[in-house]
């Protein structure tokens, strides 16, 4: 089982479930380290004082915050700890919501909650919460503190376990008001166009199957590393031109529909396979 990043207690009314937090995602990215091109030596980072022109030991480093007027205030670890909220060891459930009401824009990092301790009562309380959330299809909203930061989190049942996802606060989500979304009336599609576009969408609708989507970037990067290791030279592929917007939307839609109805669905997926292989 993965290591707990945080342990504490999930508190639900007066019921406390001792839990640990483990990450629900694995980092599969290829990590590079910076090296000196000439001799391959790893690049190291030194903490350097710009005033004394000398290296600074870690224990002499504190945090500075720049005020609007340009002045700087330094804040110590101890002071930051002091403003942490009191309930640092609990996830306090404040409210239950319908999961479908929560816009995915708010989701940040997913974790699993796992029961901790040998206590049978904890395992039972955990099971009870899992079962009730699954039956009611409700998710719990609560707050907790991890690594000196307060998080809003949503807790729900997934595959028989409790999942906790940290959430963005509303003021962290940018307002879409300044995005040009072609809302002028003149851009409104005709009924015929809309019908045709919906027909294309329905023709290309399938079940969400996350397992079929592979990280092609990671696979290609791995191949680049392997080839380079064998001493091959790698050339960057030519970049494709950005396609022109269709001048006649209706014609483009009709052509797409026609291709789809003449066994085009299969052709699309073949094209995709070819791309995945390439």
């Amino acid at each position: 089982m993965p290591r707990s990043l945080w342990t504490g207690s999930l508190s639900f009314g007066l019921v406390n479930v001792p839990v640990g937090l483990v990450t629900a995602v694995r980092d599969l990215d290829l990590h590079f380290r910076q090296v000196h091109e000439k001799d391959g030596a790893p690049i190291e980072v030194q903490r350097w004082c710009s005033e004394e022109n000398s290296e600074v030991p870690l224990e002499e480093i504190t945090r500075g915050y720049e005020l609007d007027d340009g002045r700087q205030v330094t804040v110590s670890d101890l002071e930051l700890q002091a403003v942490q909220p009191r309930r640092t060891r609990t996830i306090d459930i404040e409210q239950f919501v319908d999961l479908a009401d929560v816009d995915p824009i708010y989701f940040e990092h997913p974790y699993f909650l796992v029961p901790v301790g040998e206590d049978d009562g904890s395992a039972r309380a955990y099971r009870l919460l899992t079962e009730v959330m699954s039956r009611t299809e409700r998710a719990a909203l609560g707050r907790f503190v991890m690594r000196a930061k307060e998080y809003l989190a949503i807790v729900r049942e997934r595959d028989g376990a409790l999942t906790l996802t940290t959430m963005r606060f509303a003021d962290e989500v940018r307002d879409a008001g300044d995005v040009d979304a072609a809302t002028r009336k003149s851009h409104k599609p005709t009924r015929k166009q809309l019908d045709a576009a919906v027909a294309v969408i329905e023709e290309l609708t399938c079940e969400w199957d996350p397992d079929k989507h592979k990280d092609r970037y990671r696979a290609r990067l791995k191949r680049v590393v392997d080839r380079k290791r064998k001493g091959e030279t790698i050339k960057a592929p030519k970049q494709a031109e950005q396609p022109e917007p269709a001048s006649d939307l209706m014609a483009a839609l009709e052509q797409t529909l026609q291709e789809l109805s003449s066994g085009g669905s299969a052709r699309w997926s073949e094209k995709r396979k070819a791309e995945a292989a390439g």
């Binding site: 207690s9 980092d27 205030v73 002071e79 816009d103 995915p104 039972r124 009870l128």
Partner: protein
Amino acid sequence: VAKGYEVRSGEYVLLEQDEIDAAAGEQSHLVELEEFVRAEEIDPVFYDRTYYLGVGDDGQDAYRLLHDALERADRVGIGRWTFHNREYLVAVRPRDDVLALHTMRFAAELVDVDSLDLPAPSRKPSRREIEMAGTLVESLHDDFEPEAFEDGYRRRVLKLIEAKARGEEPDLPEPAEEPGGMDLAAALEASLSKSGNGAGKRKSGRTSRRAAKGKSKAKR
């Protein structure tokens, strides 16, 4: 400075930025939608970052058409997108008036629930416990109002900084106590009598806005 990938302990393969870019693939100015799915089928665990899509040159009619068609069909487009030389799996969906693009996690990146090795309790929760917990969940149920939650920690850090800027010394509060063990059924009963059958209790400044706002709900 070049990038080295450690293939074995201490053994690096050196890559130029060009060579790393070679892995990005060709489609760097395209979001290619390959298929469409129903949004409710996608578990939220797959959503990573969100971007808004704005209209490109001469794309107004096509943008609006895709937006309106996705909205009417109640579907999400799934495709690939290359950004900063990295290819992402993406979901495109209408969010109010704009198209939102979510980068998606790959299934292989998710930790399997079986690896958690969850302990099985000696006996299942009783029906009474499930009923009581269900009642408690319902009593605390309310609409999701993202604006009702604010980042209290950030606010407190800013207050601390302002106090220090005025030359004041901050107080250091005591750490919190840890809650102990409990009797499950008794705790449920006590919670229920505490929350009552009304709109549910509210903690830490969150007030029920449902009554004030009525049932009107922001469109997603």
